[in-house]
């Protein structure tokens, strides 16, 4: 990464490491967020997403590495002087303050006049659809409303960066979809660089400009949702995002040699071919070498599991044309649509 690039990046995290009591939980994390960019940190539970977010916020000291904002090193700048906004999954709002007091808290701390605070609070409550609730206490609100208020509170101080730690995961599915749409629109409009932690891949793919896929304290891949899905670079990313069948090199050489063409050179076990279910074509063929073992109806598609030379192969088919378990099928894999991932 060259220096020019670093300055252009609004927020930049460089080779960050962190350990708790001698146990390393983050290794060599580097990540840049451009102005107005929405980045999702996606990964399984315990992989260090929250820890990374807290370090960026200044709530946790980095072990090694730096966090910069517009080129300025934030080491030694306490969280309260960074001017960020943060929203947690729960426990975001102060339980003894009304909605209006919560939203105005950051401004009052900055010494804004009562009038300025109340007009800003009104503006934000309007923006987040909470206009009628200014006098309520947090426990009088639903989970979704609480998160709206938390968002308003974070935005009230015009944060330089918005940090969201699984803000929707305590909500039920419908509210979650609705709220993430609103957050998306709001972020687009205000163009605040945003980092959101989630372990919901759909959420990440829908919201993010770029997704950083984390596993065991490392970022395995950063890319647009399309890149991450269509061109996963590691076995973990391929299997964590979307469904995939992974085929080892020996198997591919024997049964689908066409895929070998764009295999990177390397040891036999270094790479595996990743094929997405929608890129597998199965045709009913009494002479076929695959056999259907299971058909799952998923609404718009049917997901067929076929036994193919000892591998479980996933394929999506149109639900009107699904085979029955036991049917023999022939397999066709599109070489241009398969990827080789590091095993």
């Amino acid at each position: 990464m060259d220096a020019v690039h670093a300055d252009a990046a609004k927020l930049s995290v460089d080779s960050l490491g962190k350990s708790f009591d001698g146990v390393a939980v983050l290794h060599d994390i580097s990540l840049q967020a451009q102005a107005g960019e929405f980045i999702c940190l996606l990964g399984p539970s315990g992989c260090g997403k929250t820890t990374l977010l807290r370090i960026i916020a200044g709530l946790e000291e980095p072990g090694t590495g730096t966090v910069r904002l517009g080129g300025r090193d934030l080491a030694g700048v306490p969280a309260r002087e960074r001017g960020f906004g943060i929203v947690f999954q729960s426990y975001s709002l102060f339980p003894y303050m009304t909605v209006a007091q919560n939203v105005g808290y950051g401004m009052r701390i900055r010494g804004a006049s009562g009038h300025a605070v109340s007009s800003r609070v009104d503006e934000l409550l309007g923006m987040t659809g909470m206009a009628g609730h200014a006098g309520r206490l947090p426990w009088q609100l639903s989970g979704g409303q609480q998160q709206r208020v938390a968002m308003a509170r974070a935005l009230a101080v015009n944060p330089a960066v918005l940090l969201l730690d699984e803000p929707f995961s305590a909500l039920d599915a419908r509210v979650r979809v609705q709220l993430r749409g609103e957050v998306h629109a709001l972020q687009r409009r205000l163009r605040i660089p945003t980092i959101m932690v989630t372990h919901d891949q759909e959420e990440a793919l829908v919201l993010a400009d770029r997704v950083a896929c984390m596993n065991e304290g490392r970022i395995e891949q950063v890319g647009t949702p399309r890149e991450i899905y269509a061109r996963p670079r590691t076995r973990f990313v391929a299997s964590f995002i979307g469904a995939a069948t992974l085929l080892d090199t020996t198997f591919v050489r024997e049964h689908a040699p066409a895929l070998l063409e764009d295999r990177p050179s390397g040891a036999e076990t270094a790479f595996e071919a990743c094929v997405r279910p929608e890129d597998v074509r199965l045709d009913v063929d009494p002479a076929g070498d695959a056999r259907v073992v299971d058909v799952q109806f998923l609404g718009s598609v049917a997901r067929v599991t076929a036994q193919w030379h000892g591998k479980s192969l996933l394929a999506d088919m149109h639900p009107s044309r699904t085979p029955a378990p036991g049917d023999a099928m022939s397999v066709w894999l599109d070489p241009s649509r398969s990827t080789w991932v590091a095993a």
């Binding site: 807290r54 960020f84 947690f88 426990y91 975001s92 102060f94 339980p95 003894y96 808290y105 426990w139």
Partner: protein, 563 residues
């Protein structure tokens, strides 16, 4: 059963069993509720009744008029108020600082702090008073070394002893609300730019305010109704509690005792009301709350360390000095080690310790069983029965031990139950158990909430019988609670003085009372020796039981995995 319907399918079976299940709960509730009526409601009613009737059984407020007309009583009342307010102010502010040091600092030595806080709970209630007499009294170590004179007996000595006792209770109450505060409140405020001081004002204080109010009421009540310290160190500073003791134990004037006792019910009733409000307001700790980790701050830790030292060192010092003095040849003049003080001038020697052990074990065993069945039954009760049952269960919290003891005197001295209660071990067991009934009950109810209702229903659908259900589903989850309620009742019974002090007889004495008697006879060193024995016995018993409980809970955990 016996419905005559032959088509009984398996789906009907649970319904039929549900009837039996309910019957079992009624049976479970009967004995505990009966006990509460006989040992709490009745004595209490008698006291209030006695206070508003004359010796001729006619209605009269003459006893209250006599109280108000007696300068001696009015002065004692004023003293009680002043002393209670001072102790409350000191205990609450120091207790809050200590709780804060425990939960919001990086101070080392928190184990020592916890140990110091445990001491007043483990030791007979006079130990702190004895300790300060050994230290600062006329024949105290400080006087011996420096020649300084302190006027220890009176207001300040009493305040000190009561504050030592009140402090741990404040720490306990405030700690639970400090521990329940989620880290993300602080994180959120920090990111919004709040300084540490503002975070304290905007998060910590609001989170604790109800706990502080509750703690203040508890300490005030305990202080105003405690008379052990008042007798040992109060000197001529008379308070209501010593007046009541003199009236009842000295002059056998139950009428006057009943009137003062009824007056002393007031702050206690008030404190219950406040506590319940607090419990409702402070809310539950939700799942997955993140523990607050104190940021590094040397200045804060040094400050808190100093406060904690000033608050806790006296507790440690007084306890240590009591143990030390108990081995001294002639405190404070000859400090050579001797066991002479352990030959106590009591007719029955160390028998009271054995009696205390018996009483405490019985109170803990019977009490835990009764509380368990009441709490279990309460889960299935509804409507007025549930309300009455929980009112009765919590009523003892509003009854100071002193008042309960007088109530027992009035109720069981004569009358139908006196034959087998008066002068028996049973009345001591009952007094200690019902004195602490409310706290035990609350713990039990909270513990039973951990039993997943779904699991119970699954067991029911599988056709498990009632006994099996309690044994296999409820018990494994409730075991830790049962153990802690058992310890609580045992420890309280070992060391508590109020209540039972009115009920012991020369033939049947208790350890905590024996300490007071030795002190009143002027055998202060022997009192120290006796108190030391009680502390050692209680400490050992508690350690042994904790060990057993730890082992049991390991087993329970294993069986829970299987389930």
């Amino acid at each position: 059963m016996g419905s005559g319907v032959n088509t009984a399918t398996w789906s009907l079976a649970p319904v039929r069993r549900e009837g039996a299940w309910r019957a079992v709960f009624v049976a479970l509730a009967t004995l505990p509720l009966l006990g509460l009526l006989v040992f709490v409601a009745w004595p209490l009613a008698l006291i209030v009744l006695r206070s508003i009737t004359g010796d001729d059984h006619a209605w009269t407020f003459a006893r209250y008029a006599a109280l108000l007309g007696s300068p001696r009583i009015l002065q004692a009342g004023w003293h009680s108020l002043a002393m209670g307010a001072t102790v409350t102010a000191i205990s609450v502010s120091a207790g809050f600082a200590v709780a804060f040091a425990l939960h919001r600092s990086r101070l080392p030595g928190k184990a020592v702090m916890r140990f110091a806080l445990l001491l007043p709970i483990l030791s007979p209630s006079l130990v702190q008073a004895l300790g300060i007499i050994f230290l600062l009294g006329r024949a105290g170590l400080v006087h011996q070394v420096t020649g300084w004179n302190f006027d220890l007996y009176g207001f300040w000595g009493l305040v000190f002893a009561n504050a030592c006792y009140g402090l741990p209770q404040v720490v306990l109450i405030v700690s639970s609300s400090l521990a329940g505060t989620d880290r993300r409140y602080y994180d959120g405020a920090e990111v919004l730019g709040a300084s540490r001081w503002r975070q304290f004002l905007d998060i910590t204080l609001p989170q604790c305010r109800y706990a502080l109010v509750a703690a203040a009421f508890v300490v005030f009540t305990v202080t105003v109704t405690d008379f052990g310290n008042a007798i040992v160190i109060g000197g001529r500073y008379r308070v209501l509690a010593t007046e009541i003791y003199a009236a009842v134990a000295g002059q056998l004037d139950f009428g006057l005792g009943a009137a003062i006792g009824t007056v002393l019910l007031l702050p206690a009733v008030l404190s219950i009301a406040v506590e319940r409000m607090v419990a409702r307001r402070s809310g539950r700790v939700a799942d997955g709350a993140m523990v607050v980790q104190a940021p590094r701050n040397i200045a804060r830790d040094v400050g808190l360390g100093l406060v904690a030292f000033v608050a806790l060192a006296p507790i440690l010092a007084t306890t240590a000095i009591v143990v030390y003095a108990s081995f001294a040849r002639l405190w404070p003049y000859k400090l050579g080690v001797t066991l002479a003080n352990y030959h106590v001038n009591l007719a029955d020697g160390f028998a009271p310790i054995v009696t205390s052990l018996q009483v405490s074990l019985l109170a803990a065993l019977v009490g835990t069983a009764l509380l368990f069945s009441l709490a279990l039954a309460q889960r299935r009760m509804s409507g007025p029965l549930a309300a009455v049952s929980s009112f009765l269960a919590l009523l003892p919290a509003a009854v100071p031990g002193l008042v309960l003891g007088i109530g027992y005197l009035v109720a069981f001295n004569d009358g139908p139950l006196s034959g087998w209660l008066y002068g028996s071990i049973a009345i001591l067991v009952a007094c200690n158990f019902y004195h602490y009934h409310a706290q035990g009950y609350l713990a039990m109810v909270a513990g039973l909430r951990n039993v997943p209702a779904a699991l119970e229903e699954v067991a029911q659908c599988l056709g498990a019988g009632t006994a099996r259900r309690i044994g296999e589903v409820v018990l494994p989850y409730a075991a830790p609670t049962l153990a802690s309620v058992f310890f609580f009742l045992f420890m309280r019974s070992m060391v508590t003085l109020s209540g039972v002090v009115f009920l012991v007889t020369p033939a049947l004495n208790l350890a905590a009372v024996a300490v007071m008697q030795l002190d009143m006879n002027g055998s202060v060193s022997q009192a120290a020796a006796y108190a030391t024995c009680v502390m050692v016995v209680t400490g050992l018993a508690v350690a042994a039981m904790r060990l057993a409980a730890a082992r049991a809970s390991k087993m329970v955990k294993r069986s829970r995995h299987v389930a």
